[in-house]
């Protein structure tokens, strides 16, 4: 199970990196979202195998799971939600200004 989790997180990250490197700006923004999720899953995996019952719940037998990675992920999800919406807002402006979603055509700064 641990191996499968690691493998799937790695694959998600790899797909994210591949998408980020695409020329199409929308695809690469989607790649960023995939990478965000991969990182969040990595954080979740950091605390997933210590215990399997909810923390701070009484009357349950066993080792409680570590609540801190979950709190970190909640914060990270909120931040990445804002980040993603901002990236798409900038993309809207760029697509209006350059009339393209090709990364090579958005090169006003080079000239």
């Amino acid at each position: 199970m641990e191996f499968l989790t690691a493998l799937s997180i790695g694959m998600l990250f790899a797909v994210g990196v591949f998408q980020v490197l695409r020329r199409n700006l929308i695809r690469s923004a989607i790649g960023l979202i995939l990478m965000t999720n991969a990182v969040n899953l990595f954080l979740l995996a950091a605390g997933a195998y210590d215990g399997f019952i909810p923390a701070y719940a009484n009357q349950l037998e066993g080792t409680p799971s570590d609540a801190l990675p979950q709190a970190l992920i909640l914060t990270a999800i909120v931040i990445s939600m804002g980040a993603t919406s901002f990236i798409f807002a900038v993309l809207v402006v760029i697509s209006g200004r350059y009339r393209t979603s090709d990364a090579d055509a958005v090169n006003g700064l080079k000239r």
Binding site: T36, F42, G47, I79, F86, V106, L109
Partner: protein, 496 residues
């Protein structure tokens, strides 16, 4: 008198000021003055924090919510962070003063001043926190505010530059989260003092090296160190003048702060390796930044490349890692913030008086002939960048070269000396082009532009710290004394 809440105020005041500033969005003048007041109050509180740290002779620690150290969120004001926060707010106040006198359209937007305040809050928070994850959160606040301010710039390429930078910094924040995850898996803590103890107790954890590599990459992106610099000239040149003055001076110092914490607190056992990398990259940055600055065609871009070179000097100081070199690095970082923000503001001032609003050399050539005051300030600032007395740049370069000579790093000294000569070449070439060469016929200088008050204040500080450097050097020495004895920090945070 002990008041741990003092360390909270430089973060909370600009943050709360930003929120109230948003409520005042209908009253532009009131909002601007309110922001100036909030930033000034934050400067006052950061000075008070600095005085408290200095008087007490121990770090000021605030445990939020009353949770004891490794469990709650800790804010720590030690010599290093208090000095950097004071530096931040001095420059930020000057930035707000510049924005008050600016004629850009972007300063009229209702979100401009609130974003400026959250930029300051993010930077101060990232430097004052004693917890890696909180540092990530504040760094995100910093990045998002800075990017939004740049995306709204008057420069038509602002959005593109912001987009580019945002990609880079999102990658950096993924790396930071991965590093946080690695360290948490390996050591089960994120409090920096606690981590320092646990890493020292078990330096063989397999995830330690990846965490160091990821964190180094993060801070390199944040301070635009040589191989990660490519977004920086675009981003800093396209930002609105008051914002680019902040980004290129204090915001890049966040990475410097991170490296100082990495080498002197978190990874003291692995510090020699990190230091070697930093020194090599610093020298590369000095040479590359100097050459690019000498070759570029835009005044603001030249100053942005010069930041690359000057951060290189700071990194060389961190890379040498001796007490004298660290003092030099701190003084250099402080002085560079003052000089570079003043220079970028003067560049923005010149661009605002140019026939077309641009800082490209073919537009601004000769514009400065009608602006002797700006020319005077630019000349002094140029001396400061090149490290010639009576400016503070001389003090910082002298300290750095002396610390290198004490350890007889002759080869590196020669390389960075030639890099320093490059900075004289490019600043004086820019001075000659903008303020000396006659303008092309038909180009009239605009009668009104931005106000010159903020850069004048900063250049005044540049001269003041040049003539009277003793307090700054003494506080840097104090900070370095604590940095080289990390048990003081750890003891102050964890108690006992």
């Amino acid at each position: 008198m002990s008041n741990p809440h003092l360390v909270l105020l430089p973060v909370l005041v600009p943050l709360g000021g930003g929120i109230i500033g948003l409520l005042l969005r209908g009253h532009h003048r009131l909002q601007a003055l309110w922001s100036l007041g909030a930033m000034g109050a934050a400067l006052a509180f950061s000075l008070a924090l600095f005085a408290e740290v200095w008087q007490r002779g121990a770090p000021v620690v605030f445990q939020s919510g009353g949770w004891p150290a490794p469990f709650g969120i800790t804010l720590v004001g030690d010599g290093l962070s208090a000095l950097f926060v004071v530096m931040t707010f001095i420059v930020m106040v000057a930035g707000v003063i510049y924005a008050l006198g600016s004629r850009d359209a972007v300063v009229g937007y209702p979100a401009f001043y609130p974003l400026f305040l959250t930029l300051a809050a993010g930077l101060a928070g990232a430097m004052l926190t004693g917890d890696l994850f909180t540092m990530y959160v504040f760094a995100e606040l910093l990045v998002i505010s800075g990017t939004m301010l740049t995306a709204a710039s008057d420069d038509p390429y602002g959005t593109e530059a912001a987009f580019k930078y945002y990609y880079m910094s999102l990658m950096a924040s993924f790396f930071m989260l991965l590093a946080v995850g690695c360290l948490y898996v390996a050591y089960g803590s994120l409090n920096m003092a606690d981590l320092a103890l646990r890493i020292a107790a078990d330096p063989a954890a397999p995830l330690l090296l990846p965490a160091i590599a990821l964190l180094s990459a993060v801070f390199m992106v944040k301070s635009a160190v040589f191989p990660f610099h490519f977004w920086q000239p675009d981003f800093h040149a396209a930002a609105p003048t008051p914002v680019s003055a902040m980004l290129s001076s204090v915001v890049v110092k966040f990475g410097v702060y991170g490296f100082l914490r990495m080498t002197t607190l978190l990874f003291t056992a692995q510090a020699p390796m990190i230091r070697t990398i930093l020194m090599v990259l610093g020298v590369a940055g000095i040479l590359f930044g100097g050459l690019s600055a000498a070759a570029t065609h835009n005044l603001k871009r030249m100053l942005a490349y010069s930041t690359l070179a000057q951060v290189g000097f700071v990194l060389v100081g961190i890379g040498w890692g001796t007490s004298a070199a660290l003092v030099a690095a701190l003084v250099f970082a402080f002085n560079h913030s003052l000089v570079k923000s003043a220079m970028l503001m003067i560049a923005g001032f010149v661009a605002s008086r140019a026939p077309v609003k641009s800082a490209a050399f073919d537009v601004v050539t000769g514009v400065g002939r009608a602006l002797p005051a700006a020319g005077c300030l630019f000349f002094i600032g140029g001396l400061g960048l090149a490290g010639i007395p009576p400016t503070n740049g001389f003090i910082s370069k002298m300290l750095l070269f002396r610390s290198g000579a004490a350890e007889s790093h002759i080869g590196v000294l020669l390389l960075i000396g030639s890099g320093g000569a490059l900075s004289l070449i490019y600043t004086m070439r820019a001075f000659q082009q903008v303020f000396w060469t006659p303008a092309a016929a038909g180009d009239a200088v605009k009668p009104a532009g931005d106000s010159l008050l903020a850069p004048a204040l900063l250049i005044g500080l540049v001269l003041l710290t040049g003539f009277w450097a003793a307090p700054l050097v003494a506080s840097a020495q104090n900070a370095v004394g604590w940095m080289l004895a990390p048990h003081i920090y750890i003891h102050a945070v964890l108690g006992g």
